[in-house]
């Protein structure tokens, strides 16, 4: 809980290297020693559009911050700058789709899920139109505070009929998912990591398939079922825990809707194993509750079921690493919590 704003903060002496700074919006989420790839979505879309004349790109004053500027540069005549008007953006995308084009529209996840929701619901989803909504700053990926932290976007869109929801983990997956969602007719909401995006899944011989969850590594003691960037953390945590002889598996679930129920039931059905669902999203209405519903409805009960997710609260402003630690989704916190649950 924050102190009253009228109370002067106690000024502790600044730690070694200074106080942590709120990272800039344009900063990459990549750690200093991670392999990265620049603008995977923008590059993949620009390439795909060469052979698909029906693709158009549309944005609400955020082309630079969603990597759509790469597409705009490659195909300037197919790029539509709609201004900072997210409702218009979604309505106009619906109109484009009605005329036979395939719009890829970008903004931040908060503004699509909150401001433009009714337009997405009625103009796009209810008519099952072929619009791809691709949004930067998903979950807790900026320190700007609640105005920019899309902590409930999955919950919002999970409730929307017809909507396909993708939460990719890394650059490798974003490239493949961009092509896959173009091949899938109908509305899609995809969470986007932008800028220099970490590369992780190529090492696992992974291929994105729409609607499919994949076991990236198996584990005797615990299975972490994760989505989005939490899969990166889960893989790191599993490696760290393995050093202590704790055997942790990771199942990556990039398609939040429709869920790959068969794989989830199979993974959960293994007896005597802790199941942890990890997501970069509020604990309300995201992957964790979705998975719990699937398991309970099928009567499949793992040895224990835990969630790693953001609290049901408006989050603080601050530096991203500080906040990931504070809210329990950083890799060290994942390790600590899994260890605690295993006792």
């Amino acid at each position: 809980m924050r102190r009253s704003k009228y109370e002067r903060p106690v000024r502790e002496p600044a730690p070694e290297g200074g106080r942590a700074k709120t990272s800039a919006m344009i900063a990459s989420i990549a750690g200093p020693d991670q392999r990265t790839k620049p603008a995977p979505f923008g590059e993949a879309l620009a390439t795909l559009a060469q052979s698909r004349p029906q693709i158009v790109g549309m944005t609400a004053d955020l082309s630079k911050y969603t990597d759509l500027h790469v597409f705009a540069k490659a195909h300037p005549d197919r790029f539509y700058q709609m201004g900072m008007a997210e409702q218009l953006l979604m309505g106009a995308a619906a109109g484009m789709a009605r005329e036979g084009f395939q719009p890829f529209v970008t903004t931040y996840a908060v503004f699509a899920s909150r401001r433009a929701y009714d337009f997405i619901c009625m103009a796009i989803a209810e008519e099952n139109l072929d619009v791809k909504i691709v949004c930067a700053l998903p979950g807790l990926t900026t320190g700007y505070g609640p105005s920019h932290q899309a902590t409930e976007d999955l919950a919002i869109f999970r409730g929307l009929p017809n909507m396909t929801i993708i939460d990719p983990c890394d650059a490798h997956e974003i490239e493949q998912a961009t092509v896959a969602i173009a091949d899938h007719p109908g509305p899609v909401y995809m969470r986007l990591l932008r800028g220099h995006v970490p590369l992780v899944l190529d090492e696992y011989g992974y291929r994105f398939e729409l609607g499919k969850a994949k076991v990236l590594r198996d584990g005797r003691d615990c299975m972490i079922v994760s989505t989005g960037l939490m899969t990166m953390g889960a893989l790191e945590a599993a490696t760290l825990l393995a050093r202590d002889g704790v055997d942790v598996g990771v199942t990556h679930v990039p398609t939040i809707k429709p869920l790959d129920e068969a794989t989830l039931l199979e993974v959960a059905g293994r007896t005597g194993r802790l199941m942890v669902v990890a997501e970069n999203h509020t604990i309300v209405g995201g992957l964790g509750e979705a998975v719990a519903g699937v398991l309970l409805r099928a009567g499949v009960i793992p040895a224990a079921f835990k969630q790693i997710a953001l609290p049901d609260a408006f989050l603080d402003a601050g530096a991203l690493p500080t906040l990931h630690d504070r809210y329990g989704i950083s890799t060290p916190k994942v390790v600590e919590r899994v260890r605690g649950w295993l006792g």
Binding site: R2, K5, Y6, R8, P9, R11, R19, A20, K21, T22, A24, M25, I26, T59, A60, D61, L62, S63, K64, Y65, H69, Q81, M82, G83, M84, A85, Q87, L88, V110, F111, R114, R115, G143, Y144, G145, P146, S147, H148, A317, G318, A319, T322
Partner: protein, 284 residues
């Protein structure tokens, strides 16, 4: 509430130009803490803020929640650096907190929020909301028979949002003569020059058509601003008032003014001292 370290008496006679200059200096020093950010906006809007806080607004720096105050809403959350600079200069915030800007556990987050900072009336940042909130506050103040004004600072990028025009039409319809809108036309937004992103001109007749008393001034001309704020306050007509301020991004630091893409300015570590020097040289 700790007032500014500066002896108040010595500062009471500062001219508006000096206030604006000092606001710019506070903003540059905060910018240096982050090393990058919304510096150009802050430098551009400093004259407007100086006239607001040291000429127009009826407020009590030692009691920012005083019921009788004029409200000043910052719709543009990312301009928080500019408002913090003004609040520091006004004595609402202590100057020695400036180096906490945008740092963990600071009262001065990068995006302005009501719960964090004394003098910050609303949480901005989801752009296009401020004017709607202002309409409600103006209605509420009238209900309370208060004579306070509601000022709302918003940006040319926000003119893209439909919600701004809903609020504009509402304010005209309700004849909110206690509402003063200030729009910063710096011709810049996230993807580039505002008029190229979505052309909102001609702006003055748009507001007039929505029932507002509209003025357009050079937002870096203090005399013109004083005249415009006076006219807006003293107007004896049942209409909301808009002051359209054409400002120059990074005003006062020519080598930053010259940068083209300056919505989120990257300034090299050695350039901060240079910027402060250039500013110092132009001290009024």
């Amino acid at each position: 509430m700790t007032p500014n370290d500066d002896p108040g008496a010595a500062r009471a006679n500062l001219s508006l130009a000096e206030r604006a200059w000092r606001i710019r200096r506070h903003a540059l020093r905060m910018g240096e803490v982050q090393g990058q950010g919304y510096i150009a906006q802050a430098l551009g809007i400093s004259d407007v803020l100086a006239v607001s806080y040291f000429h127009a607004l009826n407020h009590r720096p030692e009691d920012p929640a005083w019921e009788g105050r004029d409200r000043f809403l910052l719709s543009i959350g990312h301009y928080a650096i500019a408002l913090y600079a003004a609040l520091i200069e006004a004595g609402v915030l202590p100057e020695d907190e400036l180096d906490s800007y945008g740092s963990d556990d600071s009262r001065l987050p990068m995006s302005g929020m009501a719960a964090y900072t004394p003098g910050m009336e609303i949480t901005g940042g989801s752009l296009g909301q401020g004017l709607s909130v202002a309409v409600g506050m103006a209605l509420g103040l009238k209900r309370k028979r208060s004579r306070s004004f509601v000022y709302t600072l918003f940006s040319d990028g926000e003119l893209d949002e439909g919600s701004v025009w809903e609020a504009a039409m509402s304010a005209g319809s309700w004849k909110l003569d206690n509402l003063i809108g200030i729009v910063d036309v710096n011709n810049m937004q996230a993807d580039g020059p505002s008029r190229g992103v979505l052309n909102f001109e001609p702006l003055l007749p748009k507001f007039e058509a929505f029932g507002w008393h509209a003025q357009r001034v050079d937002g870096n001309d203090i005399e013109a601003l004083v005249a415009a704020f006076d006219a807006a306050r003293n107007l004896d007509e049942p209409r909301p008032r808009i002051i359209i301020c054409d400002t120059k991004m990074a005003k006062g630091v020519p080598f930053l003014e010259a940068r083209e893409r300056n919505h989120f300015l990257r300034v090299e570590p050695d350039e901060w001292a240079q910027a402060l020097d250039v500013l110092e040289a132009g001290r009024p």
